[in-house]
């Protein structure tokens, strides 16, 4: 291990070190404020440490043959860390109201983030599997964290079983690929068409794809999503929807660029089917929902379908456009989704159960104009209406699809978006309706995380109106990474 290795892995070291400090700290003094402070300090230091890491990498830096850190990975890592910071800020008032002891939540948050960072940078199956399991196992405990209530437990049990099945599918796929090709590094995975082992090489690749589709909750592997989104506390749902999916997307784009998995016709058309099905089915099922968390679950299924378009044109469009699209879309999706679950979390801060039925938001405009405005921005951004960051992201996906001449996918994007507008506008309509006299009052919201939600809401609009700085930054990152 050289000194450069050390500097490049410094953000991860800081994060894991902070986790250990927090673990020991919590066992000595149980103070919720202190736990939050240490968590935020660790996360911010880890963000700062990326600056040191960036100084030591040129286009990309191979770490121990397991991880590859380039500007793109740094972008994803900073996104995960910022997502974790927002989650920690939302978690404080949420758990402070509800539970006696909740300091361990922050340890799980930090380990999950460390897992996500490893997954995003993985270039070898061993680091991929290790990172994925660190992430998933932390998530099981985070989902079941309000252990007094039934719904989080049920959600955790469902997520645990299905996620473990997906992990086993990935493991079996990796094992078969290794048996056929003799290597587990992404860049060396290749097999000649005449080889007798090609059959189980392809079976392995198919199993890996199934596992990844499970983790990304793509149709037809989406069954767990609505239940887990509904049952988990809103803070954790926001985290599952953003960081854990962002990590797998980062891995997926790495994987399809390093290997030729999408040049096998069978795999390619299977993924096209999954993408189209996610866009259409996700949006159609979202139409039927009366529960905001379930609606967001189906909408996230559709959104990952859109994002898959950019992954699918990896062989036909310019690689820099593909990467720009993925980075931009993930960043936009993070902002919008965190804002959405932040609002669900805020409006249910003092309720025993999450305030998630759509009726609870009736007339929100007249009761709490600030939250209603942010939720409107979220709905418009999810629908991809211009002047929001959601439009810019969708436009990029559209451009990538057109450049990659993936017409079927572009049509599915258009049809899916058209269906989507309907239920997003219905949400806005609900908020504008007059409150019936005698309706249950909305819980009073605390001021602590209102600021975070407002900032996210402003970002949605500001980056939608004036996206140039963000696009320039992403373009610089992609070019600096050698594309």
């Amino acid at each position: 291990m050289t000194l450069t290795d050390l500097w490049v892995s410094f953000p991860l070291i800081v994060l894991v070190g902070g986790t250990l400090v927090l673990m020991i700290g919590v066992s000595i003094v149980r103070t919720h404020k202190l736990a939050l402070g240490l968590t935020l300090l660790t996360l911010i230091l880890s963000v700062a440490a990326h600056d040191i890491a960036l100084e030591n990498i040129t286009t990309g830096y191979e770490l121990f043959g397991l991880l590859n850190v380039s500007g793109i990975q740094v972008f994803f890592n900073v996104l995960f860390l910022l997502g974790a910071i927002v989650t920690a800020l939302f978690a404080y008032p949420y758990f402070n109201e509800r539970m006696e002891r909740c300091e361990e939540f922050y340890i799980l948050l930090l380990t999950a983030t460390a897992g996500a960072m490893v997954v995003a940078a993985a270039t070898h199956f061993a680091s991929f599997i290790l990172g994925l399991e660190i992430l998933s196992i932390s998530l099981y405990a985070m989902i079941a964290y309000p252990r007094e209530s039934h719904q989080p437990l049920e959600a955790a049990a469902k997520y645990l079983v299905l996620s473990a099945v997906a992990s086993s599918a990935i493991l079996m796929g990796v094992a078969l690929v290794y048996a056929a090709s003799g290597t587990m590094a992404f860049a060396e995975l290749n097999i000649s068409p005449e080889s007798g082992e090609r059959s189980y090489f392809l079976l392995g690749q198919a199993l890996i794809c199934v596992g990844i589709a499970f983790k990304l909750s793509l149709v037809p592997f989406h069954m767990w999503t609505p239940d887990v989104y509904q049952g988990a506390p809103a803070v954790v749902t926001g985290y599952v929807a953003t960081v854990s999916k962002g990590a797998v997307i980062a891995l997926l784009i790495n994987y399809v660029q390093a290997t030729e998995v999408l040049s096998y016709t069978g795999v390619f058309y299977a993924v096209v089917f999954v993408a189209v099905a996610s866009m259409i089915v996700g949006n159609l099922l979202a139409l039927l929902q009366t529960n905001l968390k379930r609606l967001l679950a189906y909408s996230s299924i559709a959104h990952l379908g859109y994002l898959l378009i950019a992954v699918l044109v990896v062989n036909t469009a310019r690689p820099e456009l593909v990467l720009e699209t993925v980075l931009l879309y993930v960043a936009a999706y993070f902002i919008i989704t965190l804002a959405a679950f932040g609002i669900v979390n805020l409006t249910s801060e003092h309720a025993t159960e999450d305030n998630e039925q759509m009726e609870a938001y009736t007339g929100l405009f007249w009761r709490n104009p600030l939250l209603a405005s942010v939720l409107t921005a979220v709905a418009l951004a999810l629908a991809g209406i211009p002047l929001t960051v959601g439009f810019i992201a969708k436009f990029y996906v559209f451009a990538a699809g057109v450049e990659g001449t993936a017409w079927a996918l572009v049509w599915a994007l258009l049809i899916g978006s058209a269906i989507g507008v309907f239920y997003y506008l219905r949400l806005i309509y609900t908020m504008v309706k007059q409150v019936e006299p005698g309706a249950a009052a909305l819980p009073q919201v605390g001021t602590q995380s209102v600021v975070a939600v407002t900032v996210l809401g402003l970002l949605i609009v500001v980056l939608g109106v004036y996206p140039t700085p963000m696009i320039d930054m992403i373009r610089t990152i992609v070019q600096a990474s050698g594309f």
């Binding site: 061993a126 599997i129 290790l130 399991e133 196992i137 099981y140 405990a141 079941a144 252990r147 039934h150 719904q151 437990l153 049920e154 959600a155 955790a156 049990a157 469902k158 645990l160 079983v161 473990a164 099945v165 992990s167 086993s168 493991l171 079996m172 990796v174 094992a175 078969l176 290794y178 048996a179 003799g182 587990m184 189980y200 609505p226 239940d227 509904q230 049952g231 039927l288 929902q289 009366t290 529960n291 379930r294």
Partner: protein
């Protein structure tokens, strides 16, 4: 040493038994047991593949899988205990409040 293909067939059979178990069984303990089946089938393929290529990687992955399976079960059993306490049953169908 048996040919790799034989081990692969055995492992795939174990994997399918585990998968069917997860789908068919309603008791959460048996579901976890079936998951263990699936994980260990993967570990078996890794050992066979490592032997085939003459590399230590297969066995290192085996150790990794052992560690992963152990930590997964630790968290899973914690959830099972909470479920048994709250729902008074280990039947997963009893825990189905999450519907639209």
């Amino acid at each position: 040493m048996p040919p790799t293909e034989h081990v692969l067939v055995l492992a795939l059979m174990l994997f399918c038994i585990g998968a069917v178990g997860v789908l068919v069984r309603r008791n959460i303990i048996f579901i976890l047991l079936s998951l263990e089946f699936m994980m260990n089938a993967c570990a078996l393929v890794f050992v066979a593949a490592g032997a085939k290529w003459g590399q230590p990687d297969g066995q290192i992955m085996y150790m990794l899988i052992l560690a992963i399976a152990a930590s997964e079960v630790a968290v899973a059993l914690g959830i099972v205990i909470q479920m048994a306490r709250r729902f008074r049953t280990l039947d997963v169908d009893a825990a189905s409040e999450l519907r639209e």
